[in-house]
């Protein structure tokens, strides 16, 4: 059912399917699969994250501004562009945190990067 095998009780029961416009930080003007790696994909051998549900989710933001704030907050998120995506109920389930306008999204197995195209791609200042 899920793109990756998830830990027990993951995703949380309050995570829901949703149709919503979202923003994700991209490393170039052409999204690649590398832009859609979860923290567990980046550090597969780190045992600290093996049972951490959120480490299996992808991060999106509710507004362009919140995506830009995520970039300024992080010391490693090296984005040059922000992609606008239309999430629908077939993609997966999500949990929203208002504080940083952050969505954690756990993708369904049938989610396909090649069919998940941004509606727009905006350069970040200077790119």
């Amino acid at each position: 059912m899920w793109k990756k095998e998830l830990p027990k009780s993951c995703p949380p029961t309050h995570a829901i399917e949703k149709e919503v416009e979202l923003y994700r930080v991209l490393s170039s003007d052409t999204p690649t699969e590398a832009d859609f790696k979860s923290y567990c994909d980046l550090y597969p051998d780190n045992p600290r994250f093996k049972n951490l549900c959120k480490a299996y989710a992808l991060s999106f933001y509710d507004t362009l501004d919140n995506a830009l704030l995520a970039l300024t907050r992080s010391t490693t998120l090296k984005g040059t562009h922000i992609g606008t995506y239309q999430l629908n109920k077939t993609h997966g389930v999500c949990e929203f945190k208002e504080g940083h306008g952050h969505y954690s999204i756990w993708l369904y197995d049938n989610w396909d990067f090649n069919e998940f195209n941004p509606t727009t791609i905006s350069p970040i200042n200077g790119n």
Binding site: R48, L52, R73
Partner: protein, 389 residues
């Protein structure tokens, strides 16, 4: 990151384990962690560089944790005013999770400028997690397996109904006794109940039979019980039956699921292991219990066969509740055992049946019950007639 070398400590062996993320937006900013003896910490990401990360840790009490998740205090306040007046800075490998460097710094020497002033935590699992933490702590303090049981039903709101005790709680205790391997003679030394809640029915069961710190036997039993209470598919039950010497506990389990279905109740359990500091949970409601019932009560038609066997009587017991026989066929070395048909008993009592010498022609009805998921195959034999040869 520059830290005064006088605060450095070598070979920090706290064994931090991540329990949950309180803020994970692209990166694990704020984590709830636990050390190897069960103390809880909040850790905040200071900086990282793809290969390593610096985190600051503060030990946190249950009271302060409740305050932060209810937004009573900010993250900056938690790290600025640690309860034990110090913070721990660690450098961890992002690839292996190993602590590469660590420093213990008095809170007066530590600046929280990098944490935003208005940073509050949004956290969804307050109640569950607080309960989990308390259960783990109780388990570690008592060095016992702690099994918490909570049955919720509409008909249990004002008082506890007998079914909750006799059809659910008692069968659970019986399953534990069977899986761990003790009986009522030793029960008082091994098992105890605490934390009784009568709004619905909640009981905490404490268990230590091994009287050691490893609790292997208890853990194995509680793993099987938790798997059993989570099971609803054929494969789940096959895996459970494969781990146990017998399946007597299935009859107790049937009582539990029947009570859950009949009363539209929910049964939640959680057990804490003091060695690993882990919690394992189960949940069963009416829908899940109905699915499970279909699997455990699966039955196939039995096969009936009647045959005539020439041989001698080896044993006859007409005084048993179900009068029984044992005969040795003339052409075989293996005796056949079974029960007498009730109608044959009068004839048997009147006849002067010879045991061990004279040959008879026995008419024996055999019922063959095929194997099911939770029950091995069974053959029942009934003697319906015999004639002296």
């Amino acid at each position: 990151m520059e830290i005064d070398s006088k605060y450095k400590i070598d070979n920090l062996a706290f064994g931090f384990e991540v329990i949950d993320a309180l803020d994970f937006s692209d990166e694990p900013y704020l984590l709830l962690e636990r050390d190897r003896i069960g103390n809880h910490y909040l850790s905040y990401l200071i900086e990282n560089n793809f290969d390593e990360e610096y985190r600051v840790y503060v030990q946190i009490s249950k009271r302060k944790f409740s305050a932060i998740i209810s937004k009573g205090i900010s993250v900056k306040e938690v790290f600025g005013e640690p309860e034990n007046k110090c913070v721990l800075i660690t450098k961890l490998s992002l690839h292996t999770g190993i602590i590469l460097e660590s420093s213990l710094i008095p809170s007066t020497e530590f600046s929280t400028d990098f944490i935003p002033v208005d940073y509050y935590v949004e956290y969804e699992y307050e109640e569950n997690l607080e309960n989990d933490l308390a259960l783990i702590q109780q388990s570690i303090n008592s060095q016992k397996i702690i099994f918490d049981f909570y049955l919720h039903g509409q008909n249990l709101i004002e008082s506890i109904k007998p079914y909750a005790i006799y059809k659910v709680f008692t069968p659970i205790v019986e399953i534990i006794k069977q899986l761990v391997g003790f009986d009522n003679r030793n029960a008082d030394k091994i098992i105890s109940f605490s934390n009784l809640r009568h709004s619905s029915l909640g009981v905490t069961i404490e268990l230590n039979i091994s009287n050691d710190l490893f609790l292997e036997k208890e853990n194995r039993a509680m793993d099987i019980l938790t798997d059993l209470l989570n099971a609803d598919k054929k494969e789940d039950f096959q895996a459970i039956v494969g781990q146990t010497a017998n399946t007597k506990f299935i009859s107790e389990y049937k009582s539990i699921i029947k009570a859950v279905i009949d009363n539209n109740a929910d049964l939640c359990t959680a057990y804490a292991n003091p060695i690993t500091g882990e919690i394992k949970k189960s949940y069963i409601d009416k829908d899940k219990a109905t699915k499970a019932k279909e699997v455990v009560e699966e039955a196939f038609d039995f096969i009936e066969d009647t045959e005539e066997v020439k041989g001698i009587f080896l044993e006859i017991n007409v005084h048993a509740q179900e009068p029984a026989f044992k005969v040795l066929p003339s052409d075989e070395n293996t005796p056949i055992k079974g029960k007498f048909e009730i109608a044959l008993l009068e004839k048997l009592k009147q006849d002067m049946v010879n045991i061990g010498k004279e040959e008879y022609l026995f008419t024996i009805k055999t019922l063959y019950y095929p194997e099911t998921v939770v029950k091995s195959e069974e053959i029942k034999r009934y003697m319906i007639d015999y004639k002296k040869q």
